[in-house]
């Protein structure tokens, strides 16, 4: 039997083998942690946009559309972002397991920590308005995404279904003119049955949401008017006559 120790030491000396420098070991580790950080950031963005999309919607709409709230939920659900969150969690699991000590953590612990981390950062981003900004960027730069995403704007730009929104351009006794969210002008007719929510201000420059019936490509009869933000439920609703008295 050969002298393994001496042979190995001789080989180390003759071939001038030395321990690899620390930086060479740290770089790949740092790489994995950087990728992990980016994965978590992507997950947080997905959470913030999904949160934005779900909270900005009008959850009273199904009632106005005579639709089941679950069917409505299935239509407006942000599938793209939820699938992305799932991929992020799977990616983070894979990344953690690739780290030096990742095998020591159970899958449940890795997934729980990832989900909580992504959710906390995501909701913080959402709070400071990043969810809306990211969604806006996607809507602007990715036509396919814009086509398949239900937002408050797309919800309220369905005149054929009786939903319209826009900025008031002129106001007269029975008719207000608005520029809708796509820039088209509409004459919106009000009558004694029109319910104007209490916090609505029918003044030029105000953005409003209207439920009613489309007459043609430029005329719309309003049965209800709401402010753009919220449901306008501060106090009791009022009829057209009362609104007229206010003015």
């Amino acid at each position: 039997m050969k002298n393994l120790i001496q042979d190995t030491l001789n080989r180390i000396k003759n071939e001038q083998i030395v321990p690899e420098p620390r930086w060479k070991i740290l770089v790949p580790k740092l790489g994995i942690w950087t990728v992990l950080g980016l994965i978590v950031l992507l997950g947080a963005i997905a959470v913030s946009v999904a949160d934005y999309l779900l909270t900005q919607l009008d959850w009273e709409m199904p009632a106005s559309m005579h639709q089941n709230v679950f069917v409505y939920g299935a239509i407006v659900f942000p599938y793209f972002w939820v699938v992305l969150i799932g991929l992020v969690v799977a990616g983070a699991f894979w990344g953690v397991r690739k780290t030096e000590t990742g095998y020591r953590f159970s899958w449940l612990k890795i997934i729980s920590v990832t989900v909580v981390g992504v959710a906390v950062i995501g909701f913080l981003m959402s709070t400071i308005g990043w969810g809306g900004r990211f969604n806006g960027m996607m809507m602007r730069d990715m036509p396919y995404y814009a086509q398949h995403t239900v937002t408050k704007e797309t919800q309220w730009m369905q005149p054929e279904k009786g939903f319209l929104a826009g900025m008031i351009v002129t106001v007269s006794n029975d008719v207000i003119v608005i520029n809708d969210l796509q820039g088209s002008a509409w004459n919106v007719r009000l009558n004694t049955e029109t319910l104007v929510r209490p916090s609505v201000s029918l003044a030029v420059g105000q953005v409003i949401k209207i439920i009613g019936t489309r007459q043609d490509t430029q005329n719309f009869v309003a049965s209800e008017i709401r402010p753009w933000m919220g449901q306008g439920m501060m106090g009791l609703g009022q009829g057209r006559g009362m609104m007229g008295a206010d003015r």
Binding site: I5, D7, I12, I17, P19, E20, I25
Partner: protein
Amino acid sequence: MDEKKALTDNNLVELAKESSEMFGLLMERYQGPLFHYVRRITQLPAEDVQDLLQEVFIKIYQKLNEYDVDLKFSSWAYRIAHNHVVDYFRKVSARPQSNVLEDYEWEKIIHAGINIEKDITNKDCVTKIKACIQELPMNYREVLILRFVEEKDYEEIMDILRKPKGTVATLIARGKDELRKKMQENNINC
């Protein structure tokens, strides 16, 4: 000499980074255990095991800066040996073949695998069981060797194989199941 023996593995690692001669002390300490481990999992002749072990020691030396003091040095060294053996068999595209486990080593696996209380005295029976163990896939055979021959605890096996505890437990349980199944298939009833 006693001073050197009193040094911990971690001390030796630090000293070895400065001087390859000090690495000789680490090799001295782990030559035996790693030789037996590599022999058991590869089932190669001693000469070949020595060649493999030299490569393992060179790798350990090159990776000294990578050693994490939270791990037991032995687990880390076993891990490098395990990885080297896996690479070796991948390169030569061969599975370990010959039977080089000592009788007492076989018995440990047999007893653990089939939960027998009595000693197996029938030589023919032992031979048949050995054949069943050799037929096990390498991942099962290796965990059984680590657990019952090397007598490593679950934490150490986790660190050596870099697998979660649940996976290690599953591999051990499945390895034992596979062994029992193979014994049934071969009508071994000792």
